[in-house]
């Protein structure tokens, strides 16, 4: 690393003794880009919607990483990090170009990996399942009025008529008029997505919160593997040929 690209703030922190969570956080390469010292000016807090309603502060997040105090980090990892709205207002306004939102994102990843996120992700099963089995993240069927009573009486009307309304709207647009997913992604596409999750190590991580989902995805992949791998092989050969 050249003298010019060294970050004196994170260098200093790295040389101090830190606990397990702290060390895991510092392994994420985004931290170097997200922390350039902190003036404690509070500009981030003044702009933070989560700080307006929760016991959460982006200033505290930056100070916490600079201090490296394991107890405070653990407290954040177990609860407070889930209050952040990920709006990046802190990053936009910070005079030091810090990004507490990115630090929080690194911490959320670690919280999941370390098995600290079960409570925070309760109620998240349906989204996770859709991502891993359908190739997209939301479906009209999920927006049932009983799940969203605060969205008002018109939701009930929309929910009962959604099939015919969508049919009218998407006439002539194949793949768009579906209600169990956002659009009808092809089986091969879903398989590619699942393979990305598996190859990147992300699927294994899902197992720390939703172990049954890993079983579902692996069974789904096994069922399709022969046909899909043959297609991938064709694609590989085509790519190789194009390089020659």
């Amino acid at each position: 690393m050249s003298e010019e690209t060294k970050n004196p703030i994170t260098e200093k922190i790295e040389s101090t003794k830190g606990g397990h969570f702290y060390k895991e956080i510092m392994k994420d390469f985004r931290i170097k880009e997200s922390l350039h010292g902190c003036l404690n000016c509070g500009t981030c807090v003044a702009n933070c919607p989560a700080a307006a309603f929760y016991d959460y502060s982006p200033r505290e997040v930056c100070q916490m990483i600079i201090e490296g105090d394991e107890e405070t980090i653990e407290e954040y990892m177990k609860g407070k990090i889930w209050n952040c709205a990920q709006c990046y207002s802190c990053k936009y306004r910070c005079p030091k170009e810090n990004s507490a939102a990115d630090i929080v994102m690194a911490m959320r990843e670690i919280a999941v990996r370390e098995g600290l996120a079960a409570e925070a992700l309760a109620g998240y099963t349906r989204i996770a399942k859709l991502v891993l089995t359908r190739g997209n993240q939301l479906a009209p069927d999920m927006l049932s009025p009983d799940a969203f009573p605060d969205w008002g009486p018109r939701m009930i009307e929309l929910s009962s008529k959604k099939m015919e309304m969508r049919e009218e709207l998407f006439e002539g647009f194949p793949g768009m008029n579906v209600v169990d997913r956002a659009w009808a992604a092809e089986d091969y596409t879903i398989y590619e997505m699942q393979k990305i999750w598996e190859e990147s190590g992300a699927l294994e991580k899902v197992g720390t919160v939703f172990p049954f989902l890993v079983d579902i995805v692996q069974e789904d992949m096994e069922d399709k593997a022969e046909e899909m791998e043959a297609k991938i092989q064709e694609k590989k050969e085509k790519l190789e040929a194009s390089k020659k």
Binding site: A85, S89, E109, Y124, I127, Q137, F173, W183, G201, V206
Partner: protein
């Protein structure tokens, strides 16, 4: 050439030895392309240059649009993708609505921490590769996807370790790393096409739009996550720019910057936060402007503004501001049926009073 600006340096100094240079990421990409590290999906067909931060020019493709869809829009506000198709049909723009694309999975990532950077970047690169192999320019409907793809491009260009990991995953799919020359949100395209939309608009519809008063709200991931490659720079202009071209009177309000309260996870499991943030935004909008509509470009914000007005009755407020996406406004100007072609009947906050005011029949 857009690369001429690259050598401009700022005086920003974050401490000993930390000099930050303002540079155009396109130049970094060009360098990596020359070294054989990445491929660039160069723009296909005509384009229009628009300014981003520091006067850097972003090239907006005007034809051959790969439609990278939004799962939130398709499921919840389907009138938005339909309007995106509609204005392209009317203007004779060729587009491709691919069923071999996946969601960007960034909503999931920011909400839950499930996934990791290699997964997120590989999903991005797989979708980019789909547009490349089909011969289209990659364009994006969703603001969450847009912010995510800007970030993934930044991380992939800046970090060899991540790049190598993603290349390995892509190789197992028979794909390669091809980064689009421009990461473009659909609202930036509609803005670049504003004069063409105006010229092709139905005069009767324009008469109805003229003088409507509106406020705009931009998704945080449109301009705060990665701020330096957005048309207009740090204060976005695309939605208001398009709307005012069509005759809408755009109004300012003090809370324009504030997050809508979507929060990725909050809209699902902590909606008391969402409702409280909305209360602050809506109160300012009502007291300072009391507009005919709220114009948006973001899936999450459109959902939040539309779905969270009714419940404000519990704190004694009565809000009824129709929420309209930039492309729905463009589609209406071009003559779209408000329900059958612009899908405004999928919105929970009633749009009928607005349509009455515009003189547009809906039954």
């Amino acid at each position: 050439m857009s690369y001429e600006i690259n050598d401009v340096k700022t005086g920003i100094n974050h401490g000993k030895g930390m000099n930050y240079h303002v540079h155009d990421i396109r130049a970094e990409m060009k360098k990596l392309e020359e070294e054989g590290e990445i491929k660039i999906a160069h723009l296909i067909g005509p384009y229009k240059e628009e300014e981003v931060m520091y006067g850097i020019k972003k090239r907006v493709p005007l034809d051959m649009h790969y439609q990278h869809k939004s799962c939130g829009q398709c499921a919840n506000l389907p009138g938005v993708p339909r309007s995106n198709f509609y204005y392209r049909d009317k203007l004779g723009i060729k587009y491709y609505n691919d069923m071999q694309q996946t969601s960007c999975t960034a909503w999931n990532y920011h909400a839950s921490g499930l996934g990791n950077l290699v997964q997120l970047a590989s999903v991005a690169a797989r979708n980019w590769h789909r547009a490349y192999e089909e011969g289209y320019n990659f364009t994006i409907h969703c603001v969450t996807s847009f912010g995510n793809y800007l970030e993934m491009r930044h991380l992939l260009v800046g970090n060899k370790e991540l790049r190598d990991s993603v290349k390995k995953v892509l190789a197992k799919l028979g794909r390669e790393l091809v980064i689009p020359e421009e990461i473009i949100h659909d609202s930036e395209i509609a803005y670049a096409l504003r004069d063409k939309i105006l010229a092709s608009a139905d005069p009767k519809r324009l008469e109805g739009i003229k003088g409507l008063r509106a406020v705009e709200h931009y998704g945080c991931h449109f301009f705060k996550q990665v701020s330096d490659d957005i048309i207009g720079g740090k204060r976005p202009i695309v939605v208001g720019g398009l709307a005012s071209t069509l005759g809408v009177q755009m109004e300012e309000y003090s809370k324009w910057f504030m997050c809508c309260g979507f929060g990725f996870r909050h809209i699902l499991v902590n909606r008391e936060f969402t409702r409280s943030a909305q209360n602050i935004k809506l109160k300012a909008i009502k007291q300072e402007v009391d507009p005919d509509m709220i114009l948006v470009n973001c899936t999450g914000c459109g959902t939040t503004f539309d779905k969270t007005q009714w419940i404000q009755k519990v704190v004694g407020e009565d809000y009824h501001y129709p929420v309209v996406f930039y492309s729905q406004l463009a589609a209406l100007a071009l003559g779209a049926h408000p329900f059958k072609e612009a899908g405004l009947n999928f919105h929970v906050t009633p749009v009928e009073p607005l349509l009455d005011k515009m003189g547009i029949a809906y039954n």
